[in-house]
């Protein structure tokens, strides 16, 4: 049982930061930025490259994440904000296009082989029969720390208040003297940093390849949408729900029911399970679980 819980938490960690980034950007920019999943890969790959060139691991992570955030801001300034003028759907397709270009850059710069941080590996600790490794704990720590910091910023500071005001009603926020343009730039930077950290958290536990980001695309979107796009902390709940759904598919042994020792659903159906959950939820609540605002037609 505890193992189930750990598996859920680890999977949720994979998704949570990128999903929260997606949702945060959506809250201000009103478009789902597909390129965020590529920022996750970029952050991790850059950090690994920095570590290879001799920078200590935590500093390398800082540099990789910071650089990715910067790239995110630049891309937003020169591409996405211009595309947004012709609608959110256009901007979404545009972000998809940018993801493809980033893929091409990865392909030429890194190649298809997977890499990882140079970190020592140890046997997992046993806690009440469940197994967890040291780097899984670190990864969890990174994710939890980032979430906590972001929550403090978002709910406890004046800056956060301005961000939330801009998200709720941009025109009104502008009228009350909030620099909404700056708020947008800031949220873009923060979401870039969060997504890159999400990638780093994955790389800390294992390998990362240029394909990792694109493989995250659907589960991350499912998590963000379940939580209600535009509601950042809903996305964390969404990530947990997706992780539970996937883990139920992979960890439930139907053997006893069927009179056999072991019988599992095909592992590939883990993703299918979470997608169907997404569709079912949207039929019930068209804007996600945690959104209560009036629906736009």
């Amino acid at each position: 049982m505890l193992q189930f819980l750990i598996d859920v938490l680890m999977r949720a960690c994979d998704l949570a930061l990128v999903a929260i980034a997606l949702s945060a950007v959506y809250s201000l920019m009103k478009f789902p930025n597909v390129a965020l999943v590529q920022y996750a890969t970029a952050g991790a790959l850059l950090a690994i490259l920095f570590q290879r060139s001799g920078v200590p691991v935590w500093l390398a992570i800082g540099c990789g994440v910071g650089l990715t955030g910067l790239i995110g801001v630049l891309l937003n300034e020169f591409i996405f904000s211009r595309m947004l003028k012709s609608g959110s759907a256009t901007a979404m397709i545009g972000s998809l296009a940018v993801s493809m270009i980033i893929s091409a850059v990865f392909l030429l710069a890194v190649g298809p082989t997977a890499t990882r941080f140079a970190l020592p590996i140890s046997r997992p600790m046993r806690i009440l029969g469940a197994r967890i490794t040291e780097w899984q704990l670190w990864s969890f720590g990174v994710v939890a720390g980032a979430l906590l910091l972001f929550a403090l910023l978002y709910f406890r500071t004046d800056l956060g208040r301005q961000m939330r005001a801009t998200a709720t009603n941009e025109v009104l926020a502008d009228a009350t003297g909030i620099n909404t343009r700056r708020m947008k730039a800031l949220i873009v930077l923060i979401s870039g940093l969060l997504a890159a950290l999400g990638g780093v958290a994955i790389a800390l536990k294992g390998e990362i390849s240029i394909q990792t980001g694109l493989d995250l695309l659907l589960p991350v979107f499912a998590a963000a949408i379940l939580g209600g796009l535009g509601n950042p902390f809903g996305a964390v709940a969404g990530a947990l729900v997706i992780a539970v759904a996937e883990t139920i598919v992979t960890n439930t042994n139907f053997g006893p029911l069927l009179g056999r020792a072991v019988a599992f659903l095909p592992a590939a159906y883990a993703t299918a399970g979470s997608f169907l959950l997404l569709v079912a939820t949207l039929l019930w609540r068209p804007r996600g679980i945690f959104v209560s605002e009036v629906k736009r037609v």
Binding site: S86, I101, A104, L282
Partner: protein, 297 residues
Amino acid sequence: MSDFLIHVTIMAGIFSLLALSLNLQVGFGGLMNFGQIALFGCGTYGAALAFEQDLGMLTGLFFGLVAAAVVGWVFASIGRNLQADYWGIVTLALAEVLRLIATNEDRITGGAQGISGIRPFFPGLESRPQQLAILALVLGCVLVAWLLCERLTGGRYGLGLKIMREEPQLSASLGYDILALKRQCMVLGGLIAAVSGFLFAHYVSFVGPDQLGTSETFLIWAMIVIGGLGNNAGAILGAFLLQFTFAFVPFVKDLTGLPTEFVAATRLVLIGGGLVAFILWRQAGLIPEKTGRARHV
């Protein structure tokens, strides 16, 4: 005309059908379908399964059409009260679920090994006349589909779709049944896509789940955005342009002596970069939508 050009033209024709279908949904109806490849898959698997059971080509076509109509209808029904970007992700997820089923239910679909050796068109003919006959068949289908789309979108029905796209509330108040319009549009799009899948299956003689990846959907999107959203001729032009460009990238590699990775990266950059460039600088595409007049009213 060399065999190579005939082949590229056939492939461009098959993709033109997909582009016409998606353009009907996105360009005219404003339905952001990111699961287009699933409709195509209905056509390919319809043909392949009928072939496996020795049911004849037309039965296969029938299977494909029915399956695609059902999938289109379901997509539209799920989208009843979803916002465009939410619905886009849902279609993406559903298409992925269908692909997973095709990969894993190997007793029915042949699994990842797919179904091979599907009977070609005109098996009695010599190689060259056979190629030409297939070319004529494919181009004939494109012509019919184009005329159909022109007829549909140029008349009252097209006006209804456009009003729904631009002003859904207005269109509802004018007495249009939005859900019915969406369903019709998706089913029609599905039928055209299924024909494309049917042609593809018998042309390449192999059907498998790898052909149904999300990246294929993005490719079709690139075709219609570059060709011109809301213009049928534009969709066809976009499909031909991209197919021919891809087919000739390897020659550039041979001429310049660049490594083969260059081809893979170029393909991504061409789709991604083309999309970005057109969205930023020529939103209407190569052949812009005709506005301000309706011909068949």
